[in-house]
Symmetry: C2
Subunit: 332 residues, 2 copies
């Protein structure tokens, strides 16, 4: 592959001039620049980012580490991060922690070793990777789940209020035994939602606010299915359920189908996260919509700010989720 000196030689200038031309420095004679670019195209030259970054001590790649790329919520977040990063000249690499702290650590190490400019992280367990990053002074912004203490940039969604609102809605529709089903790797996000669920029960004066909290048996819809089968087989099964993510919701719906239970009429269902398929169900799925893409772009924005100005105080952006009521949570 052609190097900067090949280009310099062919254009009859020094490597410094080539470098300046390629970096758009003002101080380059247009005629020379022209020659440089001609030589470069003739040689099909591509600057070697490795060398450049080594010299500059800075890269322009951002990492986004999420617990599950197959969760549409996170892919939407990824799009948001991309939107913002690309237009600022950064590229984004998407990494999958699988909800496993070890894998998270591994990717954090990769980011560190590659000297990436910063990372957007949706942490698996409290602060495993975040602290590592912060110790090494690598800019990081936390998305979605939050170690409550850390002075770290964050963008999150007020899931507690949203869960409360959803539960209140279910109560208002006349459902009485409401369960909340969470996925297996309950981060603080899931926790928040459970809190909101309990808030609603307490406020309504129904019991001590303990509510019926369930956790899926394993990853994805199948884990949720098993849990749902179990609680639907109970003597006094719930008559409504709040699912904390899409996969969980699908498990619940499957379990209901097995017993011939219809959403809305028999069991009220509200789920976090909206997917295009929610509307083709009959009845359509009531959802709590999180502004996923926006979360991503805000996070990237915060990260870019911190990269530019490492000492600025930590900031937290809290976005609202909105309840969209459809048939699955209406009795009628």
């Amino acid at each position: 592959m052609a190097t900067i000196s090949d280009v310099a030689f062919r254009a009859g200038v020094s490597t410094a001039t080539v470098s300046r031309a390629f970096n758009g420095k003002s101080t380059v004679d247009p005629a020379l620049a022209e020659r440089v670019f001609r030589a470069a195209t003739e040689l099909d030259y591509r600057p070697n980012s490795l060398a450049r970054n080594l010299r500059r001590q800075a890269t322009t790649v951002l990492a986004l580490i999420v617990p599950d790329v197959e969760n549409p919520y996170f892919t939407a977040v990824a799009r948001g991060v991309e939107d913002c990063a690309l237009s600022a000249g950064y590229s984004v690499v998407l990494c999958n922690s699988d909800g496993d702290p070890d894998k998270e650590r591994r990717y954090v190490d990769v980011a560190l070793q590659e000297r990436m400019a910063g990372v957007v992280l949706s942490p698996t367990a409290a602060g495993v990777g975040v602290t590592a990053l912060r110790e090494r002074r690598t800019p990081v912004v936390v998305v979605d789940r939050m170690p409550p203490d850390a002075a770290v940039d964050q963008v999150s969604v007020d899931g507690r209020t949203a869960a409360c609102e959803a539960t209140t809605h279910l109560l208002a529709e006349g459902y009485r035994r409401i369960a909340c089903l969470a996925g297996p790797n309950g981060g603080t996000a899931a926790h928040d939602r459970l809190d909101g669920f309990r808030d609603a029960l307490r406020t309504s004066g129904r019991g001590d606010g303990g509510g019926l909290g369930w956790q899926a048996d394993g990853h994805g819809a199948s884990g949720a299915l098993q849990a749902a089968r179990r609680f639907l087989a109970d003597d006094e099964p719930p008559d409504a359920v709040l699912a904390t993510d899409s996969a969980t919701a699908i498990g619940v719906l499957e379990a209901m189908a097995e017993r011939g239970l219809l959403a809305g009429r028999d069991v009220g269902v509200v789920a976090f996260d909206d997917g295009p398929w929610g509307r083709v169900l009959d009845p359509a799925l009531s959802v709590v919509v999180q502004p996923a893409r926006r979360i991503g772009s805000e996070a990237a924005g915060l990260l870019l700010q911190r990269i530019a100005e490492p000492e600025r105080p930590a900031e937290r952006i809290v976005l609202d989720a909105t309840l969209t009521v459809r048939g699955s949570s209406r009795r009628g």
Copy 2:
């Protein structure tokens, strides 16, 4: 950040020894190695991959460029690539071309500039990025859509046969006016499926095999929705449809719901790609299942082989898709 010389100094050895220790070279006195590692942990040293890669002229990062990260099919492929790559010590960066040749080129350039070890590419248009990569002798394997000529490693699915089988099944169920609806960025994959669809019509002696080919108006379910609205409003609307991907299927289902049409009974539906939500529909969605994750791991395997042995002849792996019949394509 601590560098190799900091570690060398602290351990009282040369940088060469540190390097050797970290790279697990046999020829290092255990006692020295011990000292090196102690010093390294004390300093919290992380090797700088930039420097290492610059020196070695080789990275251990793979790029995976797909047209749409929000399509579950591609995230599944990504998991497959990851499975294989991670266990071989490579990391994977996921890039989104959005079906746009320009974005694809941009990411190909990033891969080139970063001197990535290789790329798995699901091309948007015929060969835009592939040729660029091949000219620069960067290992590449094409997934899913294939410029038929190029001598390039590929892993694909026999979509033509699968589409033919699906269409034949629809015919056998008694549907007579079958449409095939494709997404907006029809790669060769969509093309194949349309071909298979036509094969089936021709074989069955129904018309000239031209069939009813439709293309979605735009990206995602909404684009498909508009197209589906149009053909359902036809004088002689189709009585079955083969959708070439999930998003398209959702658009069709939505359009059907608007007109009160029930899948199976009124309009037979088969879609490419299986998602967990297909089973919670009533009737459940008949699908053509592609071994997405497998595709990814095979592709990564091929890529690794080519990296190891650049001159080996190009290989093509063709995987089968399987038809899973559920209620949406059964009249009864």
